[in-house]
């Protein structure tokens, strides 16, 4: 029993790694892209098409194709998982910036904010709710896709490793364990991010309380 708990913990840390790295990496890349294309609708349309095509590639195929170049390293899982998050995150971040009321931007400009100060001090914080919504979606999606990465081998398998082993040995208990744990992980991660959003947007709470 103790051994099993140890194994589950090990798989959990792997799965956590397979989720946090792609989402964090994807967020940084998406933020840079989003700021770059924010006022260029054509560039935005192109970026959405490109990330859309990347998103379209089934995960199993993507892992196997990337493994050709990276061998069987953690990069093989990280690269496709990161590219998958881009579509959701770029859209969410751009939508977040677009949701900032024009009056607020005008007021900030009137107060003498430079473009950069306005971006960091006004637009970015106000874009947080939609950004977090996108991060939530990207996280839950990545947790699901990461289970497929187990097909590459057991070093970075996460909970998907239980699925793969269960399938190979026709041992249903392991399959249910792997499936149950990854769903549980996704639900808990989503709840944690909801808390993060509440913490990051104190003004929204104040407004809700004032009503």
């Amino acid at each position: 029993m103790g051994d099993h708990l140890g194994l589950i913990w090990e798989r959990f840390t792997q799965h956590l790694e397979l989720t946090v790295i792609p989402v964090a990496l994807g967020f940084v890349v998406a933020l840079v892209i989003a700021v770059a294309v924010l006022h260029r609708p054509r560039a935005y349309a192109i970026i959405i098409s490109v990330t859309g095509i990347l998103y379209t590639i089934p995960s199993l195929a993507a892992f196997l194709l990337v493994s050709r170049f990276t061998g069987l390293s953690i990069l093989t899982a990280i690269i496709p998982l990161t590219t998958y998050t881009l579509l959701i995150l770029v859209r969410g971040i751009v939508a977040g910036f677009q949701a900032v009321p024009p009056d607020v931007i005008e007021a900030a400009t009137g107060m003498g904010y430079t473009g950069r100060q306005r971006l960091l001090g006004v637009e970015l914080p106000l874009a947080v709710p939609l950004m977090v919504a996108a991060i939530r979606l990207a996280t839950v999606t990545t947790i699901g896709l990461a289970t497929v990465a187990a097909i590459l081998g057991d070093t970075y398998g996460g909970f998907g490793q239980f699925l793969t082993e269960g399938l190979q040995t026709f041992f249903p208990t392991k399959i249910y364990l792997g499936a149950g744990l990854s769903v549980l992980f996704a639900v808990v991660a989503d709840l944690v991010l909801v808390r993060v959003e509440r913490w990051a947007t104190p003004w929204a709470r104040a407004r809700a309380g004032a009503r």
Binding site: G52, L60, L65, P129, G160, A179
Partner: protein, 253 residues
């Protein structure tokens, strides 16, 4: 030259029961029938929820849970059931796979239909009611056309999900392009695995481009613009969607 290109260039791989055309057709057949059944379930329910506004919270929650269940895990859970039915009854053992694929496709279709209808300007519908249009006429004549891009967006998501899942379903059902991947991994014959992966990616991208075209055609022309993404239009003066609504929007698109 990557080995999968020479694999694909070999004419021997383009004929017979294990040939590329057969496998591609199988993949389309499996995915298409699952999407069809999902449409028959998801569209009416989604349209009803969107039109009446009843059961919206339940719909969003179901969709979120649907998102959280990895397709690989769902297939994994289905496998023991399929195996217990036994391979003598081949068609019966495929039923669970089919059910699983349909179950994955219903939430995005349902949410797309629901979210699309919800985004339609309420004043417009009130005006139509005032003009004496019946509920069915409002749904057919106003809500569905205006919501069409979002509805098709949900269907696109569902189709991609199903094409990807059909790959994993090949372990059980025995057909489709996933066969190349699993046979290739067992043998092992890596060029075959890679050829399978390339074909699946190409099929998914091709079908998605096709549906993007359908989405464009179905979008009423005033809503079309070169920079338009398949996202629902923002209604001026309305607060931007946050939280659950933003999520619904993203899933639907």
């Amino acid at each position: 030259m990557p080995s999968f290109i020479s694999w694909l260039a070999d004419p021997a791989h383009w004929s017979g029961a294990d040939g590329v055309p057969t496998r591609v057709l199988e993949h389309i057949e499996i995915s298409g029938s699952a999407v069809l059944v999902a449409l028959l379930i998801g569209l009416p329910v989604g349209l009803w929820i969107g039109h009446t506004g009843r059961g919206a919270t339940a719909a969003i929650n179901i969709a979120n849970i649907g998102r959280a269940i990895p397709s690989y895990a769902l297939m994994g859970m289905i496998l023991p059931i399929s195996l217990s039915i036994g391979s003598e009854l081949y068609w019966l053992s495929v039923v669970p796979v089919f059910v699983a694929m349909t179950a994955l496709a219903v939430p995005p279709i349902l949410v797309g239909a629901y979210a699309g209808l919800r985004e339609v300007d309420r004043d417009l519908i009130e005006a139509a009611r005032g003009m004496g249009l019946r509920e069915g006429q409002i749904l057919r004549g106003i809500e569905i056309p205006l919501a069409a891009p979002v509805i098709v967006g949900g269907i696109r998501t569902a189709v991609l999900q199903v094409i990807a899942t059909a790959t994993i379903g090949a372990i059980i059902s025995g057909g489709g392009l996933g066969r190349y991947i699993f046979d290739g991994l067992l043998l092992p014959d890596i060029p075959r695995v890679e050829a399978g992966a390339v074909l699946i990616a190409a099929l998914a991208i091709g079908v998605d481009i096709l549906l993007a075209g359908v989405q464009r055609v179905l979008t009423p022309s005033p809503l079309r613009s070169p920079a338009r993404t398949p996202e629902p239009p923002d209604v001026p003066g309305e607060p931007p969607p946050t939280g659950a609504r933003a999520l619904v929007r993203a899933i639907g698109g």
